[in-house]
Symmetry: C2
DNA sequence: TCACACCCTTGATCTAGGTCAATGCCAATT
DNA sequence: AATTGGCATTGACCTAGATCAAGGGTGTGA
């Protein structure tokens, strides 16, 4: 646990995130084999709802490829996205059978699933899996709390900049490249999905993106491809501390 | 793990939350003894900052009595509370030495502390502690995500009602009483702290509390004692689903 | 090639909540 | 009993972002 990396790792040995090298280094073969026995793969189409809030959920899973969103919706239709699930993220929760939010595939996805009961038994038998899950959960908690600052206190422009920073960083991490001063990436989300993530309306999202473009902070190729000539400029706009987060 | 309660337990056997009955039932004596060897107690005064964001943190701890807040502050002073720590909550994180937020004592507090390194070693030796910590972290993650909906999508009035619901419920839980249709409790927070929790200004908090009083949803004795004649009315005002949360 | 469905942008207007400022309350101190 | 200081309330006004509305690309299927 001491030297475990706190950033999300891309896939390493095989295609299942549970086997990330942070765990593998400590796992013996028996554990890997027992994991293999209870897992299976499922794919989902873009736009498909993977799990409905309130539904019985008999599996836990990790994202192999594609992007999903977690969101909560009030009776009157207001919705708030509470998480973005990217490859290597873990969906579901041992010890609870009812899903607390909707999980929706943004693009085509492949998930590595484990039936919940055997997975729970496995966690008791092989503590390393639980330890890795604890690390990941703590990271998600930190991310959720950082997002609370975004939602509660930032202006619309800062919110957009914060989202672009996250998307840029995660894109860089997925490509195993270092985040550098200039970068470009695709926006996986519609303006409406961004609005739901940021607690804004889609019109405000659109206006602020236009404003950032007008001010030269970003450039757009089409509507869904962004390039950031100077990443530090974006950081300034986001209102974050320069050091870029609370890792380690 | 299967039957572990998902609500936070009040203190049970002794005064350290790590020994909550959910864990105790599965622990053998050896584990309890080894915990005792590395723990110590610290008290803090009301208003005292327990941990500064960015500081080195060589211990983890759990709240024995009193209330603390977790908060993040931007350079220009805007602050957002990201958590309320009540008795039995766990502060700090194994595997990370730098504190990501300020922890401030709201009233006089007693904390049960563990030096971080020995605690991490203990977690490896005795998986039950890690499993309990995972449960607690997952609960906190759910709470953080529910709060994201509050921050991102609720109106000021709904935000206040949501906060009062949480305070009322936690108060009922601490007193080991069942949440019933009418209840009363003290507000532990100033109007400003409530504003920081809710992403509002203190004036708006004050106005909305006055409005809820005017409309008969709550009554005030002094400025810090609330009684709620009909808890369901408060739930309606909060915009939440009637069933009252996502537990189990 | 037309038409329909999506997604996105932009403008005009409205409003919830922020900002600024005055005042009130009460407990502690002198 | 006067003073000080920390909270809290209330009013008047302002503004960021919501709401309402119109139109513009682009892709897909008939």
């Amino acid at each position: 646990m001491q030297n475990a990396p706190t950033v999300k790792l891309p896939l390493e040995c095989g295609d299942c995130p549970i086997r990330h090298n942070a765990v593998c280094a400590r796992c013996n073969n028996e554990e890997l084999i027992s994991l293999d026995k209870i897992k299976y793969y499922r794919s989902f189409q873009a736009g498909q709802t993977i799990i409905w809030s309130g539904d019985e959920m008999d599996f836990v899973a990790s994202v192999v490829s594609g992007i999903a969103t977690l969101s909560q919706t009030m009776e009157d239709g207001r919705t708030q996205m509470v998480g973005l699930m990217l490859p290597s993220d873990f969906v579901g929760r041992p010890g609870r059978s009812i899903a607390p939010y909707d999980v929706v595939a943004v693009n085509d996805m492949l998930m590595c699933c484990f039936r919940r009961k055997p997975f729970e038994e496995l966690m008791i038998k092989t503590p390393h899996v639980g330890q890795r899950l604890l690390e990941m959960t703590l990271d998600e908690l930190d991310a959720a709390r950082e997002w609370m600052l975004v939602l509660g206190r930032k202006t619309a422009r800062e919110k957009i900049a914060s989202l672009l920073m996250i998307l840029g960083r995660r894109n860089a991490a997925l490509n195993m490249t270092v985040a550098k001063s200039s970068m470009e990436f695709d926006l996986p989300l519609t303006r409406e999905a961004m609005a739901d993530y940021l607690g804004l309306t889609l019109e405000t999202v659109s206006r602020q993106i236009s404003a950032l473009k007008r001010d030269g902070v970003i450039e757009l190729q089409g509507k869904r491809h962004v390039s950031v000539p100077d990443f530090n400029r974006l950081i300034d706009e986001s209102g974050d501390d320069a050091d870029g987060g609370l890792l380690t």
